[in-house]
Symmetry: C2
Subunit: 506 residues, 2 copies
């Protein structure tokens, strides 16, 4: 692909370019909407996004695009890089052709309105301010899912949007297996009588200093701020317009440095993937990241396996103390348990590694009920609280701590959550493989040297765009198909160290 593409492939790229540019324009407008836009801008913004979506839909369903794809099919049979381009182009076209243009535009507008309503509702801790928009979004996404499924399972068709090939027939036993391992572990921690002293992670952390420290860490990880930036947002995210312009967002607590730091490392992990996508495939159908599961493996690796490691803190703690002089007596040994507490909590993005997948399992079960028509929008807050009680043994006392905590549904992103769990599993599996290939990796971390790991990820993951689907990418990088064993090994090891629990006896 580094050589000039064949003429018919170039034609496909040229036609696709407009589609991609409209996606980028929408991404800029959405970033602005979540970070910069004044309240008054919401209604107009929704309309403009709907227009861009409509124009993109027209291009995806045009005969010009289909002809350009068809022109490459023969060549694709003998050239896997062309085959990947054709596969990705076809996937987008097929999705678009199945969803009527009007529905796509209605969705774009409902998502924009939903986002604004959710922001207000979350701030006011009032589900009623979001109820109508959520109901509308569910209706429209149900229509979309049915259209995409074409007789198959509607919820599977949504899963496939975020992780191509992902099916609930595989997810259901996967979540059951995780629950079977994790629920007793969480219970054993609760029963063991040992609780972690988290007071050392609390204190007075001015926002400016938190930002400076987080940016310093992100830079050290390899995130290039000449090709990116960091801004506040109600619900942190990473968006990429192209590898040269990647936007991270963050939020903070003034009395606990962890949400901001691990949030920034998480988003910077996403950002490193985006900045590392192959330049020669930029703007082509297969030039994007492969799926949300692999994407999440990158963010969670930097957040959890790097950022919560002792080796990382051997390097980071002296810098931390420079930013927060109040922490001068803190040691890595004191800090480490605070980064690995196991405790049921309400907020997914702040959950520990052991309980995190139970948060996702809750959302998975609720989404399946939504898309099988077994729950009404008005019953969702109670269903949410009840499911949390069943899976985590706790019941949220407010909507902000419950159903209103996540941005996803307000943007119409149903079927997205399971990719977080896939990300956790892939994350651990990749990290074990990286440690095998880089035996010095941990001591490198302790000197602030993250480039070797980044280079490994660049070569094994980032450089491929969506040349390979997730499963194949994992096998190529680790030698094995995706499974939960590396993740469970990691959790058991950490829990044993912090709580003295031998997981094999749980």
């Amino acid at each position: 692909m580094s050589a000039a593409p064949a003429p018919q492939v170039q034609t496909l790229f040229d036609v696709f370019r407009q589609i991609k540019d409209l996606e980028v324009a929408s991404a800029v407008l959405q970033w602005d909407q979540e970070t910069m836009m004044p309240d008054g801008g919401a209604a107009g913004r929704g309309r403009v996004l709907a227009t861009l979506t409509g124009l993109k839909h027209d291009l995806l369903t045009s005969s010009r695009f289909s002809d350009a794809i068809d022109g490459c099919v023969e060549l694709a049979a003998g050239d896997p890089t062309v085959a990947a381009q054709v596969r990705e182009a076809q996937r987008r076209r097929d999705h678009a052709c199945k969803v009527p243009s009007e529905l796509a535009q209605q969705l774009a507008q409902a998502e924009s309105h939903g986002l604004v309503a959710w922001q207000r509702a979350r701030k006011a801790d009032d589900f009623g301010l979001f109820r109508n928009e959520l109901g509308k979004l569910i209706d429209l996404v149900k229509q979309k899912a049915s259209a995409l499924a074409a007789g198959g399972d509607p919820y599977d068709s949504l899963l496939d949007l975020f992780d191509p090939g992902c099916k609930s027939a595989e997810l259901t036993p996967l979540f059951a297996g995780l629950r079977a391992e994790l629920a007793p572990l969480v219970q054993a921690v609760a029963d063991c009588g040992h609780s972690v002293d988290e007071s050392v992670a609390r204190g007075d952390f001015p926002a400016e200093q938190q930002q400076a420290f987080g940016e310093m860490v992100a830079k050290q990880m390899g995130f290039d701020f000449n090709c990116g930036r960091l801004d506040l947002a109600a619900h942190p995210f990473c968006t990429s317009f192209y590898p040269q312009d990647v936007r991270l967002t963050w939020r903070y607590a003034l009395d606990d440095f962890r949400p901001a730091l691990f949030g920034i490392m998480h988003e910077a992990g996403h950002g490193l993937y985006e900045q590392g996508l192959p330049a020669h495939m930029q703007g082509t159908p297969a030039g994007d990241a492969v799926g949300m599961g692999v994407h999440e493996s990158q963010s969670r690796m930097w957040e959890n396996l790097v950022g919560r490691s002792k080796a990382f803190w051997e390097w980071a703690l002296p810098k931390f103390k420079q930013h927060f002089p109040g922490s001068n007596s803190l040691t890595v040994e004191q800090l480490y348990p605070c980064l690995h507490t196991v405790k049921p909590s309400f907020i997914r993005v702040e959950a520990d590694e052991a309980t995190y997948n139970l948060h996702v399992a809750a959302r998975y079960e609720i989404e399946k009920l939504i898309f099988s028509g077994k729950v009404e929008v008005d019953d969702l807050p109670e269903l949410w609280n009840q499911t949390y009680f069943e899976l985590l043994g706790i019941r949220p006392q407010s909507h902000a701590d419950g159903i209103l905590q996540d941005i996803h549904w307000s943007m119409g992103a149903f079927g997205y959550f399971p990719s977080y769990t896939l990300g956790n599993l892939i994350n651990s599996q990749l990290f074990e493989a990286a440690k095998r290939d880089l035996p010095e990796m941990e001591s490198q971390f302790s000197r602030g040297e993250f480039q070797p790991l980044l280079d490994w990820l660049r070569g094994k993951v980032h450089a491929h765009g969506s040349q390979y689907l997730s499963n194949e990418l994992v096998i190529r990088a680790t030698g094995e198909p995706m499974s939960s064993s590396a993740f469970l090994r990691h959790i058991q090891e950490v829990t044993n160290e912090v709580y003295g629990i031998d997981a094999h006896r749980v």
Copy 2:
């Protein structure tokens, strides 16, 4: 127009909506480019803007749009509001049909690259970093001007883009007349031996306090920050996505409060016009502001006729002292001359009212030479400096103080500058009319009451969108055609007060 439009008019609006939404998307991307975008984003941004421009061009030149226009022509004959919609729709279509799509896209990309190159060149004070992009932009804008002129005068066709109907045959004598009045006035000030003590306007003004004061003033003027925001930019501007989302930008000097304050009042003046455009015409062809001359009359009125008045400072000075305690002993009498110094200077946006139009005259002469093919890009810096010497008697010592000071050419906006002078003239003429209608206006200012003036502007100017062209709008608002007499009266009055010069004897 407040009633539901006729079906064929609604069809025109529906077709136009996509065009307008693409314009808004481009405006958001351009705002981001000038305020937020990391350096690395430039190349990709240019491409996306070019794609949006190309898609807009396709829509403007589509038979669908032309058919929608044609469908309204008959109705327009008997309905002036429909006639204005048809006129504005036709104007856009005709411009687009004359400029080939490829040229429009090349221009969009060159403008995006030009902006980035100009920013770097200005920072480095090195014309060489901008030379190639400027040369390319001039070539492309010449092609565009020839295409638009269709045998007529190419430069006139550019003027018409910013102020419909504006022609150099009228501008040349207008500038000659202004120069004949202003040059002797400036000379008389230089000769009078009196110089203003500007030290009272200088000091130590922290950026945060300047922003807080500027925002407070903008709010008091009536600018609605729920429907807008203020950010830093290298070259301040105002952009509007729609009346509910209007973005102001500013810059500051730490040792002089004037550039920031008057810059913010200027942009807020633009912003008030945008926020006051008629809601029922929003997103329609005639729903936009009428032209850059009238737009500039709004910004310059708030900046100069309100912001530099004694009445304004009677209200503002106590607040100013709260923001800048170092200014506690300042009086309106000390301050007033500092707001009306007459002194040739290098930077247009910081020029006083008396010399400002000479800055514009310089650009007008240079642009005419560019578009008559009488100057090469490499000769422009020297031509700039020479023209300044002839008109203002001073010669810039750096490119940043000379040809690199303005953003306009880097965005392909040739033919824009004269609208600043038109704005100055319309500004004074409108203000005299407002004073006749609102005899209490000045004493209202001294109590911080700007709503009566804003209401007057809303009714006479803002509420009309582009229902009337500039000349008609001015006649309707003031009873007289546009002329320079009100402006000259104002300058003479102020100069007499500050320097004791009786302009009638100059």
